[in-house]
Symmetry: C2
Subunit: 431 residues, 2 copies
């Protein structure tokens, strides 16, 4: 929970820094709001019941449906563009397995009510800042635009077969290029040359502008395809202007997530050291968020941070702190008559912005330090008769065992400096 | 949601600074965990249903039952003392009315597994730091100890009538001293002199040590009562040592919350300027948290921050900011060809720790500023041809309309200083 909260805090801070506002909606929605919106699967997995007034309600299975309902209801007061983030619990009555739970958190951000490519750029910059601030340096945001593939299909008169084609492409990582090509011919009914060209398109990827040119050549002359290329170029160029290192952005025409939902820019984000874990932040642009609830046409763009995947990755990469306390400093209750002074010192350390716990019982020092060790405190401030006599404090680094005697004179200024130094030194390796 | 998140953030920061760890438990618990634990009322209000495996489950109605279940299950790995905070949603199928919702948040902290009075002191200090950091200066933490009243009743052979007596005392604010005295005689069956003495006890309150002495005199010679007095004295004295101003702490023998649940120190917290709203942070010490789930005796002490009441109070006191954006700075999209430079400036402002939103469409400036005004941005950074030509930026204070031209040279150092000055000036009046 400690690193989890730290990630969620970071996400909130990043979202806010771009002007996204927090929203919260009830976990329970009327059942007819939830059904028929996702897939047959989500309908079946819904936790549903009748409330005390006999109304059918259900627990939300994502944060997008509640956003659509909320925006449809309030768009006139909200105005556009409306930028919101939403961090909340969702429920799915499925079989739990590794990394999949019946109850889990989602962490979404969206900009509603604008077609501007600036919002697409910003979505990429937000993803970049999220990963950076959570503590990752090596990651790649893979970008695509649904219009590029649509353009290619349109050009070849294959637009009506886009669903089986996308379904085949989606399996690229799983079944390989040969497998996809076979499926394009067998399932989607393509002739071999079309299958080959589509496959060629989706296997082009890279960071350089030459890649964009290669893709552009394939859809040249098709309006939809060219619009897609133009927007990709715009997003890549301006995301760099906003500080995203070119190497962090890649064009990847193979990503085709959200078969019917996304209509423009698509985002996936991979950790370079753990590509196998899948995308840790995904999203895209859509034409019409709330079509089933309102006649307002509400386009938008956004993405969702994969909290559980990120935590799994941090753990596997050894980047998780192993502490059961969010406070770094521990004060043993050493001298039973001096509790007022331990509490006063704790208040002073806290006022300097450093978390500190006072052990509540005057047990043997060894027992208290064992507790401190198990909880993962980093520093103990030990004060017995000698220290009280000369107004000092023993600062014990619990990782190394090193002890330093520090004066408490002058409002414990020296102690605070010493603590800040010790804590800063250890903080860089974990989150 | 913006001030609400700020309060929750503050609560988290304060809890952590004392070494309380975050926990999260599922919203859904097996039904038999939840039933028969609160009152008949809470059983009736439970949202319950059968899950896909035919098991009866329910949505939790508080965070205490889940804590008890969690601690009973994990106490051997957790060890004691175990300090946790938990901020989460709870559900009650009751009639919603002003300030009461079917779905709402609780914000609890507890120290489990120690009888030490240091934990009682710390609970008072946490309450103090919570209120202070949320932005209140005028508040009073009212303390009582159930043992004091129990001692008095024991002394008079009335312990078996404690439930109707407490019920009568609980109505002091509602029906006044005369009403309570009548009820003590009529309902609890006390003789007039006993009723008078009990009432006298509960109407003593104040900050001075003389009050403690007055109460002590009434229970002198009774072991339970004297133990209660000793602990009250300990809590008052050491909370002051830990930095709580004496005027913020009051002894109030009339508070008797949690009829059967609390067994020692009791806490209620009132805003001096809004006593009518009731206690905004309440709690107490209990003997046995998880008696129905484990044979471990788990005493503890803790309290719960009343998020909804605090928000209502902040609103009524005019302490709520009226902004729909968590970012203070707005950059209008003025010159369509310069989006890269607007985005680059935004990234620089953000890197300085200041939130900023770039308007995504190059509409008329007036329209964009109208949006900024409605959202509650505080400063706009305006850059058109003139500003680009001489590398400056117009900083517009949106509250006063004042404009200042600021150089962007030297990494926009001057701009950051100017922004920090403007934003600090306005920040003190609201949270």
């Amino acid at each position: 929970m400690i690193p989890r909260e730290r990630i969620v805090d970071t996400a909130r801070r990043v979202y806010r820094s771009f002007g996204y506002s927090p929203i919260e909606t009830p976990a329970l929605e009327y059942l007819d709001i939830l059904t028929g919106k996702g897939s047959e699967e989500t309908d079946k997995q819904l936790y549903r019941f009748q409330d005390h007034g006999g109304r059918w309600v259900g627990l939300r299975f994502d944060l997008t449906i509640p956003l659509a309902r909320y925006v449809a209801q309030h768009i006139n007061e909200l105005g556009t563009p409306f930028k919101r983030y939403h961090i909340g619990t969702v429920w799915r009555g499925e079989k739990p397995h590794r990394g999949r739970f019946r109850e889990f958190a989602q962490c979404d951000f969206d900009t509603i009510g604008t077609l501007s490519p600036v919002a697409d750029v910003e979505t990429a910059v937000v993803i970049h800042d999220l990963l950076k601030n959570i503590g990752f340096d090596d990651f790649t945001i893979r970008l695509n635009n649904r219009q590029v593939l649509n353009g290619l299909l349109e050009q070849r008169g294959l637009l009506d077969r886009s669903t089986p084609i996308l379904r085949a492409l989606d399996k690229l990582a799983k079944i390989g290029a040969d497998g996809v090509e076979r499926e394009l011919v067998d399932q989607a009914g393509l002739v071999a040359s079309d299958a080959g060209q589509i496959l060629a398109l989706t296997t082009i990827d890279g960071a350089g502008d030459d890649v964009l040119l290669q893709v552009a050549r394939l859809v040249r002359g098709n309006e939809t395809g060219e619009a897609g290329i133009a927007r990709l170029e715009y997003v890549l160029r301006n995301a760099r202007a906003a500080g995203v290192a070119p190497a962090r952005l890649k064009l990847d025409v193979s990503i085709a997530r959200g078969l019917d939902y996304y209509t423009g820019t698509i985002y996936e984000t991979y950790l370079d050291r753990m590509p196998g874990i899948g995308s840790v932040c995904s999203g895209g642009r859509y034409d019409n968020l709330a079509g089933t609830y309102t006649r307002h046409q509400l386009p938008g763009v956004g993405a969702s941070l994969g909290l559980d995947r990120l935590l799994a990755a941090l753990e596997e990469l050894g980047m998780l702190e192993n502490a059961a306390t969010p406070a770094p400093v521990f004060i043993p209750f050493f001298d039973a008559a001096r509790i007022d002074q331990y509490l006063a010192l704790a208040a002073r350390v806290r006022a300097a912005g450093i978390g500190v716990e006072v052990y509540p019982e005057s047990k043997k020092l060894g027992q208290q330090l064992k507790y401190a060790d198990r909880r993962g405190f980093r520093v103990a401030l030990i004060m017995g008769e000698d220290e009280f006599a000369d107004a000092t404090c023993q600062v014990k680094d619990l990782a190394t065992g090193n002890k330093t005697s520090v004066s408490l004179a002058d409002n414990a200024r020296q102690l605070m400096e010493h603590l800040n130094g010790l804590l800063a030194a250890g903080a860089s390796t974990s989150i």
